[in-house]
Symmetry: C2
Subunit: 334 residues, 2 copies
């Protein structure tokens, strides 16, 4: 199998993607090849820093780069030879089976959605993301691929999130919760009330509504919501550690015992930060397309890229898309 890696994507490109890809290639053991997509000269210059003899790495040239802040729609139209667009084309032409990018998320998602086909019966692909909880991790889906959703979309996100967690996280029949503002079925807006009915009739291990507080509590392993709500919650969650540590620092101030205390607690804080650090998890899956797409954080370190590549490999080895397809069909009377 071949995994395309956007060498120009992310705040630390091409250094970080190239480094991460080389790390991944070193442990490939014949299971996959990596195609670094981007400016050939820049990539070669970067690669020259490493010894890559016999490593399964190729380069595929793409002359343009979509900036992290560029408007996705405009960028996709004007930069046909960007590493993101070219990567999608490689997948479309079956020259690669999976793609990892830490580049402009909006552009990467739009390019994937526009270029690749959807799995049968999937109306809208969904972007899952990991949220650390007190019991481990949960997958929140959708976190931004779809701002306006219908109940059927939420059912499909739930099915895809559940299959993903089952086969990638190895959790049998993961608990699926619908993000809502109360426990009762009658709670919430029209979208979730209708979605609740579909979820109740589904094949999933649906535990009913979960509230905002239940996300960190780890009540469910899969939390389903529309992409608007999911994106707001995700970005809010990402800001939590920063707010917390900065406020704590301010309270410690110049108080000497408190500063000593902070020093002694440093390892605990570091561990906490690590738990809350989305980079640790590599990349998040865009589910429902007929190829494997892994979206990495813009600030991805080489390690994050390596983890994202590992995730893409796992998704292919598990034949995840086939399993998604079967489970979607089972839930839509086909």
């Amino acid at each position: 199998m071949r995994i395309a890696v956007d060498a120009m994507g992310g705040d630390f490109a091409p250094e970080s993607p190239v480094d991460g890809a080389i790390q991944a290639a070193r442990v490939a053991r014949g299971r996959y090849e990596i195609i670094l997509v981007g400016d050939e000269n820049l990539i070669r210059r970067e690669i020259a820093k490493y010894s890559i003899k016999n490593l399964p790495i190729q380069i595929y040239h793409a002359s343009e780069v979509i900036g992290m802040e560029e408007s996705p729609t405009h960028a996709l139209r004007s930069k046909k030879d960007s590493s993101i667009v070219v990567s999608s084309q490689l997948l479309k032409k079956d020259l690669a089976d999976a793609v990892v990018s830490a580049g402009n998320t909006g552009a990467f998602m739009a390019s994937s959605l526009l270029t690749l086909g959807r799995l049968p019966k999937v109306n809208r692909p969904g972007l899952g993301s990991f949220i650390p909880t007190e019991k481990g991790l949960c997958v929140l889906i959708d976190v931004g691929a779809n701002s306006d959703c219908k109940p059927l979309n939420l059912l499909q996100f739930a099915v895809m999130g559940s299959v993903y967690v089952e086969h990638i996280f190895d959790i049998s029949r993961p608990k699926v919760g619908l993000l809502n503002i109360g426990e009762e079925e009658s709670k919430g807006n029209e979208l979730v009330r209708e979605s609740h009915k579909l979820l109740k009739e589904s094949t999933l291990n649906f535990i009913g509504n979960v509230e905002g507080r239940d996300i960190f509590g780890g009540l469910a392993e899969v939390v389903v919501c529309d992409g608007f709500v999911g994106n707001i919650v995700l970005k809010f969650a990402e800001s939590v550690v920063g707010m917390f540590t900065r406020t704590l620092k301010k309270n410690v101030g110049h108080n000497i015992p408190a500063n000593v205390g902070a020093l002694l607690m440093k390892p605990a804080f570091r561990k906490l930060k690590k738990i809350m650090d989305y980079q640790e998890y590599g990349g998040v899956p865009l589910l429902g397309l007929n190829k494997v797409c892994v979206v990495s954080h813009g600030r991805s370190s080489p390690k994050a890229i390596r983890n994202a590549i590992r995730e893409a490999r796992k998704m292919m080895e598990q034949d995840l898309n086939h399993k998604l397809m079967l489970e979607i069909a089972r839930n839509q009377g086909a």
Copy 2:
């Protein structure tokens, strides 16, 4: 002016509301009277613990209590003589000007919405809530009064939140942000895209879209959203400190230096907890009704009740409802 206090509302009723009301009565200095609403015998027994001679406190009997976990719709229908329903009736009959309750939030809101009139031109009242930020506080509105909203509702929430912050927090022309999933006007679902247009044309100090991460960042003093999104964000925010401290504790474990560190940092942690403690802020305003309604947290301490009463007083002294009415009219071409 007369402030009705639901003596039976909250996890610590009647002790906490009675205690808080007495504390408030002690500093009333002729500015207001307090009407404790609830079971007269229970209230008298509670009051007997204090010396309340000459304090401006009355009791208004209500024989029933709506439990914290009861379904609001059912409870309102079946318990006509509950402290919540009776309080609303007192306001309706002009026997009181404001009400504070730490009881079943859904029932209190529904009772207020059904019994009291709305301010002219207000289509839907909005529940504001306080979120601590790195720069102070922000008011998130709506946090649960309305699950399905129209753009005009969001405009009205924004106007009411802005007037509230201006006159109760004393911040001139507070910055108003629309909770969205990106900075650009074109971002988000249909509701926020349409709301953005209305807000841009409004009299408010509208700073545009704000994202999940900007809430804690304190980018805006008023953050507007529909009640579904707001309720999820609020409950998520409320769970943050617990998750954080429990995870930190787990990381500290039996490591002795880290435990000493935690001990030395205790005052800083306590301060942080206080900043994040929603109780400190007393109650949150239900805006848009023709009376003053303050919703207190179910776990309200006497201090929280006292603060909620102070807030109700402030809202009346500022003639807030009149100001809301004027600003709503200015923004709807009347």
